[in-house]
Symmetry: D2
Subunit: 220 residues, 4 copies
């Protein structure tokens, strides 16, 4: 069960637990006691019908628990998905481990669609320079954070200086219907590349749990 995919440098998506599979969808759709299956063909056809006719509730009987480590700016997008359960590490309570995300590739601003990234590439020299500036700023933030703590400032206030690139961790329990919605929005080209990477990992871990349901979803 416990399978894990690494993302970026120290991020990850880990599948912790699941409940239900394709047969849970079939069973709920048929609400029958005893002979739940009517054979592979009929069962898969039923799943396809439910998916394509917008009958979402049977897919809510498949559930997943994930453990995720990602930068805060990714977590902020993730937590907008309200149908699901989140438990996040608290920087009010926990000793912060000084782990900061850094892009492995810098993307250019998109002149046309301002909210996404553009096509061009930075030169090697530019990349070196961007990395240097970025690292300096991140180091300064962490040094300031530790300095505030050493001077006795409350952790809940000190964390205000930490950047949105700081890593966080959380548990996420979500049903397949809500997961499909998450994947649709966060695997899309319009999503930020960083969360796309996480969404793809979520997809790869979840898909084998209910291959017919995922196939039906991908055929939409």
């Amino acid at each position: 069960m416990d399978s894990c995919i690494s993302i970026h440098d120290i991020g990850f998506v880990r599948l912790v637990d699941t409940m239900g599979d394709d047969m849970a969808v079939v069973r709920a759709a048929r609400v029958s006691y005893g002979e739940e299956s009517k054979g592979d063909d009929a069962d898969q056809k039923l799943i396809n019908f439910m998916m394509s006719h917008n009958h979402g509730t049977p897919f809510e009987h498949i559930n997943f628990t994930f453990h995720i480590k990602c930068p805060i700016f990714v977590a902020r997008q993730w937590f907008r998905h309200r149908i699901g359960s989140f438990n996040e590490i608290s920087l009010r309570y926990t000793e912060y481990e000084e782990q900061i995300w850094r892009p492995d590739a810098w993307r250019m601003n998109n002149q046309i669609n301002k909210q996404s990234s553009g096509e061009g590439n930075f030169s090697e020299k530019e990349i070196e320079c961007l990395n240097g500036e970025y690292d300096n700023a991140m180091d300064a933030a962490v040094i300031t954070y530790n300095g505030l703590l050493e001077r006795g400032v409350a952790r809940e206030q000190a964390r205000a200086v930490l950047p949105m690139a700081a890593y966080t961790e959380f548990y996420w329990t979500v049903n397949a219907r809500s997961l499909f919605n998450f994947l649709k929005l966060r695997m899309a080209d319009s999503a930020q590349k960083e969360i796309q990477d996480y969404a793809i990992a979520v997809y790869e871990l979840a898909q084998p749990v209910a291959p017919w349901a995922f196939k039906a979803w991908e055929s939409l």
Copy 2:
């Protein structure tokens, strides 16, 4: 896993599947990788703290799927609980099996609190009479229903004559936090006796899955 409790005559609550247990609560509350447990005492204490301080989200990582058969008037109360997933048998689609609930004990009207039942008892003769009237009305409803179908009336219209005592079946997936809320409201004295019977069965099937969480909840 597949345990079932019979209710009234032909009703039941069946536990179909679960995900998570007390350790899922501990794990989510600690968001730690690796050493999730800090020993039984510390773990149970953490669960008690979460419950008593209204930190509900860790309990959302425990999930249950139930299969329930109950009269429609009970299902109507059940479906008011929005945090959860329901799939009910449809009388638009399914052949109705003519199963009607009958009270195994008639309760007197409460003169003071009009919405609940009172204290007195009916005589044996009265009970016989009530049963007779009730059965006659139920038989008439079923006969009319079948008559309408035989004359070619659409099932979705014909079902309008069926009584709220008619049995229905559904699958219910719910997390422990929402389950506790259901049990609090439906095991209460103020709840209708019929749904109390179902709620108690739900409790008995769910409690062994997460005994510390249930103990903490019962101590509230």
Copy 3:
């Protein structure tokens, strides 16, 4: 504000209150203080973009409260929509007013799609006959219900004999995003004709509140 549409015989949909309009969508999408509008054209274009790109949250800032009177079998379908707030009259508490719905047109069973209604028509003689049987069964149910009450049976038990054709009433508060989902499913051809009639009334009352949002939704 208080506008009402009659449905079937004594049913109705009444719009009780609203919050927000097209500008509430624009405002939330722009999160700007002060100059919320950028002119009619830009504003309407923004609404169309949000709708067509699946950005649903801005539409959640428009809210409606409806008061509805409908048969229980319609209410049962309605209450399946979990994103919204319901308060229903309780037959545990309230004196029942003996109001039973009767179809104004009988529909034939569909031989192919068993869950919907077919094409044919009943003869006038058949209709007379169906009405007679139906009314007799309904009368019998109401007489039995009243008989049980007179003998002192608790209201919460006696109501089990009432048919799903009995009228109920409820308040429903719902945001525009959830309303669109309701309308999509319940105005569809595949929905039961009886709830379609209600959904159309909901549409007619809600549409003038946010004409651009509705137009964008209808263009999907």
Copy 4:
């Protein structure tokens, strides 16, 4: 309607719109057409009964839309409340205005309860020093952010260097039941002082809308 309370330096809570009031609760609880009120005394008593008996749904018919400007670390706590609608300004799209929160009072770490703040006070000299370090780090973050943008880095990547003290803005639509839950958790002593300040402002703006409901809630 449009009333606003300033928080900290440039933060605010603004009440944008409301729907319903105490009578909306009464109306929904009675589901009556026409004579909704039974007089002030009876109406207020009904509200108190609903609140004290955990009948939460009638309070869902009161709705509020707020516009909030707060530091990101406050918004992160706010967005954990899933029953409600959020639209936040996006730093993927919007020109960032370089507005950073700074504590107007530094709090000491609590030696016993590590997640909250302690009792002691910093000397004036210490405060000066903390402010200096904090401002330097914030300035450095903003300079780096602007530098990355000037070099052509995509906004969605550059924002990773911004601190959690950066201001954000959002619209929040929420019903009274969910609002009460928010206030209970965020006005509590255990909440971080910074979000307490916001919660108190929310309370002050919302309370006059439904004074009986708030009074009933405060009496719990």
